[in-house]
């Protein structure tokens, strides 16, 4: 059994807002759902599957009711920022199994307007909560060890932000539109060693949505055909503290699964959406996915190698979470959306990859230095 080629992304929508104090979170979900349904050329009554994560207020019952959906398949898997990449894979499974035919996936929220609800605690709470793991220091711990083991430098990490900023200058909705230099990044204030302010992503309100459907229905619609041909998901944590190694992520498992299912290799990929909560997130994912060898990510990202039209692997051409948008502190949705834009030929002309027929969208969720999930999607233009 495989989901290869069983599901098509027929609709995408990224909310243009980056600050929405005058809207409710449920409202933002409804707005991105409307946007994706319209992009696909469908109507709400066509939706028979709904995929949502922890950002949807109240979970499945209130959201299905609020949106007025009538669905026969529901999946509320929550793996933080990569939930939507996992939803895409699960939607393909559901469509392949005949459980639904037109699936809606939504993400929305307002971390810029107000504080986020606290993370749910697990069995580890008494043994970890007091130590104050946040996104900044959990990713900082990974970067610190990566530098120790492989000689990775702050300047190399900075190139990732530089590349994202080169792309963001062409995105009218980007939260940060100014091109920055390596010096700008390494001279920005230290937030949590060794990560500087400009190693961090933006905090934005907003959201995004997808419509995932069958081949037959996708071919009856008007959009260019983009389909999922490989998917992987995995989780990693300290696991009792044995053989702790914070220099790799669960991407070492999700990536090969997706590439194997798709029957392609990293060398075949024309465009890469890589989750960029921090610069170190991108560097580790590129290694884990096989775009370069472990420990050589620093060299790989340097000198503009991730800039579209300049380097070998154009990444996050919308400006990514580092510069454009990171709605609800969950970057997986926008990774899929920009990959679909590239495959459709709808990216900004200044960053559109020529003949872009194969792309990867990959992300992690949770805390890279503590417990996290990873999911990899290989997408193809038909």
């Amino acid at each position: 059994m495989t989901i290869k080629g069983k599901a098509y992304i027929a609709g995408i929508f990224e909310h243009p807002t980056r600050h929405a104090p005058d809207k409710s979170t449920a409202q933002l979900h409804a707005e991105v759902a409307r946007g994706a349904i319209a992009d696909a050329g469908l109507s709400k009554a066509d939706i028979d599957g709904y995929f949502l994560a922890g950002d949807a207020p109240g979970g499945a019952w209130p959201m299905v009711d609020y949106l007025g959906l009538k669905v026969r398949h529901i999946d509320s898997t929550d793996t933080g920022g990569c939930s939507y990449l996992i939803h895409l894979g699960h939607a393909a499974e559901a469509i392949a199994a005949g459980k639904c035919s037109i699936a809606l996936v939504t993400l929305a929220g307002k971390p810029r307007t107000g504080p986020m609800p606290p993370r749910a605690a697990g069995a580890e709470a008494d043994f970890e909560t007091a130590y104050g793991a946040t996104t900044h220091n959990a990713y900082g711990m990974c970067a610190m060890r990566h530098m120790h083991d492989y000689g990775t430098t702050s300047e190399q990490l900075a190139w990732i932000k530089v590349a994202a900023s080169h792309h963001a200058q062409y995105n009218p909705h980007a939260f940060l539109k100014d091109v920055v230099t390596v010096e700008d990044v390494v001279n920005s204030p230290m937030i949590s060693d060794p990560l500087h302010r400009l190693d961090c992503c933006v905090v934005t309100d907003g959201g995004g949505a997808l419509i995932v459907t069958s081949e037959e229905i996708a071919k009856s619609l008007k959009k260019p055909l983009v389909r999922l041909i490989g998917h992987g998901e995995a989780m990693k944590g300290p696991r009792g503290g044995k053989d702790l190694d914070l220099t790799y992520s669960a991407g070492v498992w999700s990536g090969p699964r997706a590439f194997e299912e798709a029957g392609v290799t990293p060398q075949d990929i024309k465009y890469a959406s890589i989750y960029d909560s921090f610069t170190i997130t991108v560097l580790m994912q590129l290694e884990d996915l096989g775009f370069c060898r472990k420990g050589e990510g620093g060299k790989f990202v340097a000198d503009g190698n991730l800039i579209s039209g300049v380097g070998k692997l154009p990444f996050n051409t919308d400006g990514g979470g580092l510069c454009s948008n990171h709605p609800v502190n969950r970057g997986g949705m926008t990774k899929i959306i920009e990959a679909v834009r590239q495959l459709r030929g709808e990216a900004h002309p200044k960053v559109q990859v020529k003949n872009c027929d194969l792309a990867i969208a990959h992300g992690t969720g949770g805390l890279l230095g503590v417990r996290h999930a990873a999911s990899t999607c290989i997408l193809e233009r038909v």
């Binding site: 580890e124 008494d126 900082g140 044995k242």
Partner: protein, 129 residues
């Protein structure tokens, strides 16, 4: 360095109560599996490696080395350093480094456990030896 920081009181549960009772006596406990022989942390009743239920409490030396760390420059309670320590007995665990110069932390440094009070059982932290 200010030590006025208020730490959360461990909730505890039947599975972990022996750990917190020992902590109140100044002992830092880990769990070891009699079946596979490996120690783990935080303590579980069933071994996370071989899934045997033959785990037993063992007092750790409380000595280890810094695997990694990150100094959070700002927070509501001031700067603090989070990190992982690899214990002499094997397992690595998350902690904060206290009672030492946070600007001079380094991977590989030797550290030892120290307990800090809460309204309930004391919490383990690590300091540079």
């Amino acid at each position: 360095m200010s030590e006025a920081k208020k730490y959360p009181t461990p909730v505890t549960n039947p599975e972990t109560k022996p750990f917190w009772d020992a902590a109140a006596q100044g002992k830092f406990m880990i769990k070891r599996c009699k079946t596979c022989g490996d120690a783990h942390y935080f303590p579980r009743s069933i071994c996370p490696f071989c899934f045997s239920d033959k785990t037993e409490w063992e007092e750790s030396s409380g000595e280890g080395t810094i695997y990694t760390f990150s100094l959070m420059r700002k927070s509501a309670t001031g700067p603090y350093a989070i990190g992982y320590v690899t214990l002499k007995e094997g397992p690595s665990l998350m902690t904060n480094f206290v009672d030492c110069d946070l600007e001079r932390l380094a991977i590989g440094q030797k550290v030892k456990v120290v307990f800090k009070p809460t309204d309930g059982a004391p919490l383990p932290f690590f300091t540079v030896v």
